[in-house]
Symmetry: C2
Subunit: 392 residues, 2 copies
């Protein structure tokens, strides 16, 4: 929990997830006159469409015979522009607090916090988070928790190298990010060596450890990696050593008092981690490491919302198909995150769900069953909200 | 019932109604590998989008910030082109026959007939007929049934005038179609007069009867009508007389033997109809008419499908939202014609419904629960069905 002293952001509805369905949710809420903010762990709106299918064709959006993921998102952003819904990127929602009933019908019903400290006070929450936030796939090694952010990092460690001046860097993974991270680390340590840092009897070392023999990276990158494994010998200067191990890290041991004494660098002692790893022949080895970068890719995870007391079924949220409400009053779920009889994980279905959810949300927020149903083609009120000129 | 000697048209699915939802139904069925034909009472595809909103803007189709009704239909026609689903316009479906169970799983399950004699043998039927077929609004006058198509016609009678050579034409209605029909009738009878037809002592007469004093037609048309009511007198030739009556036809009387004798035209006797009408002061009049054109506009009517034994609720068809099946196994309902908890009559919802219905239809037609779920972005099979080039 990150405490914040910022004033809370107040809006009718917080939409968690800014993929195509979350974006269209803004539109349907806006037509009914409800304001909304969007939050997403990704830095930009679009979700999987932008991250995974940006340049891939989609053929089954009605009346769009073909469009790319990026195009779909751009079209939706244009469509929802009239409603000026702020987008908060890089925000993982961590906490949902149900507020006590207030006699004022306009009082907020939920307080929602993000990992980096944003605070929202809202009338309703829409979960449009798809299969979840794309978070780094975790390294399943015993004892890793004690070292996270203190020597073991998910993703890039390039900003850590100048601070830690590590002798022994381990990179976990076999994809493009891991291979690239290994090469960048060699370069960074070589640069430090020129300045006689890090000082030590042995030259520093970068180890790429991957469970398979083969790497899954662009050919050109693998070729550079292969060359860096057997560099041209140089007599002038010590060189950074690069290794490739086939194996898996199984545990991180706690440092002993002796280890800390031995390094002579108590301030870096925590970074000197005894690693146990198993090679392809099932032999166990123990090696020291100063800095570990885990690059096992991203995987979708529902994250903290699994702990909000929502009824879940196989990592999905059962909903009432009348209004896509969940088991928690005031919380709605649309798109791939929800489940119901006949559910198909299609963008189109999410659009329909967001539409019916908007009516359910309006009923909840305004406390009335009388939500007018109007057509954009004919309603001057809807057209005014859309900011389009109307001939009357 | 029209008997036909044509061979039946065989296809997996008959879609009744070719509005936007019926068209998108072709797409979703086609993706799954099911063939379909479309029938509609209108002469062209598009339904209300083409008939009522062709040039009006629609703002709530996802990822189409604005498009007209006509544009939406054209986009959908482009999208479904790969599936070559034949469209049968001007077809009002009259009869649905449930066929006896056949051990052959490929045997048709339904025989469907249209008013004009088309015969289909299909595995499943989708009702995508919206609020119904747009049929002429009926004239509520006693005894009218006996004269329908024998003197009284809905819509234009211009093709009847040369055959019937009527002396007294009555046009019912006050809209553009009625006023226009009156003027066309005056012109047609004037032309006949030049050829000394119809022969009679009195010049022929066209009567426009409307329940209100005012007409609802373009100004220019009303002006022409006004001029025709008081034509410049001509001494050269007898002229067709045009009248405008405020009132309502209340009944059609049966002709007497004497009437038939009096006309001297036994072949036209049935056309000589004694009409009772009530004027604005509630006085009843009886006048003879030879030909009546009823132009009270179109109104949506579910038509014969109300007699198929489907469960109905307020002229709508309750469906299971899992697959949009109706109470009659093998018959599905999508779009404005169906009803379920939370239903909103939106094109977007119809698209979603057609999608889930396609899976339900595939299960029904193929008799299996194992319908593969694939994405158009990734599936070579779906892309082959769409006829799009795939890089592999």
């Amino acid at each position: 929990l990150v405490l914040t002293s910022q004033p809370p952001i107040k809006t009718d509805v917080l939409i968690i997830g800014a993929g195509p369905v979350g974006l269209f949710q803004v539109f349907e809420l806006g037509l009914l006159g409800l304001s909304a903010h969007l939050v997403d762990p990704l830095p930009r709106p679009g979700g999987q469409c932008t991250e995974l299918y940006a340049d891939k064709p989609i053929y089954d959006i009605p009346a769009l015979p073909v469009c790319t993921g990026q195009e779909l998102i751009e079209r939706l952003l244009t469509q929802i522009k009239p409603f000026n819904a702020p987008f908060h990127g890089g925000q993982l929602v961590t906490q949902l607090e149900v507020l006590e009933a207030d006699p004022d019908p306009k009082a907020p019903r939920f307080r929602v916090r993000t990992q980096s400290g944003l605070l929202f006070e809202v009338g309703a929450v829409v979960l449009a988070c798809g299969v979840g936030a794309f978070l780094p796939r975790p390294l399943a090694a015993a004892g890793i928790e004690a070292w996270l952010q203190r020597g073991v990092f998910y993703g890039s460690i390039q900003d850590q190298i100048p601070l830690a001046l590590p002798h022994r860097i381990w990179i976990v993974g076999g994809g493009e990010a891991a291979v690239s991270e290994a090469l960048l680390s060699v370069d960074a340590l070589s640069e430090a060596l020129k300045n006689k840092l890090p000082s030590a009897s042995e030259p520093p070392e970068v180890t790429l450890i991957h469970r398979r023999e083969s790497l899954d990276a662009p050919v050109e990158l693998i070729e550079r990696f292969r060359q860096a494994l057997s560099p041209t010998p140089s007599r002038d200067a010590p060189q950074v050593r690069l290794r490739f191990l086939q194996g898996q890290i199984t545990s991180f041991l706690r440092p002993t008092e002796d280890d800390e004494m031995a390094t002579g660098h108590p301030e870096r002692a925590l970074g000197q981690m005894p690693i146990q790893w198993v090679d392809a022949l099932a032999n166990t080895h123990t090696d020291p490491a100063d800095l570990v970068s885990v690059n096992l890719g991203l995987s979708p995870q529902l994250g903290p919302l699994g702990e909000w007391g929502l009824e879940m079924r196989k990592k999905q949220i059962p909903v009432n198909t009348e209004d896509f409400s969940t088991s928690l009053p005031g919380v709605f779920a649309v798109g791939d995150v929800n489940t119901y009889s006949g559910k198909k994980k299609l963008i189109l279905s999410g659009f329909h769900e967001a539409t019916l959810a908007a009516y359910g949300i309006a009923k909840w927020v305004w406390g009335t069953d009388k939500i007018p149903f109007e057509y954009t083609t004919a309603s001057p009120r809807l057209q005014a909200r859309l900011g389009v000129g109307v001939k009357t």
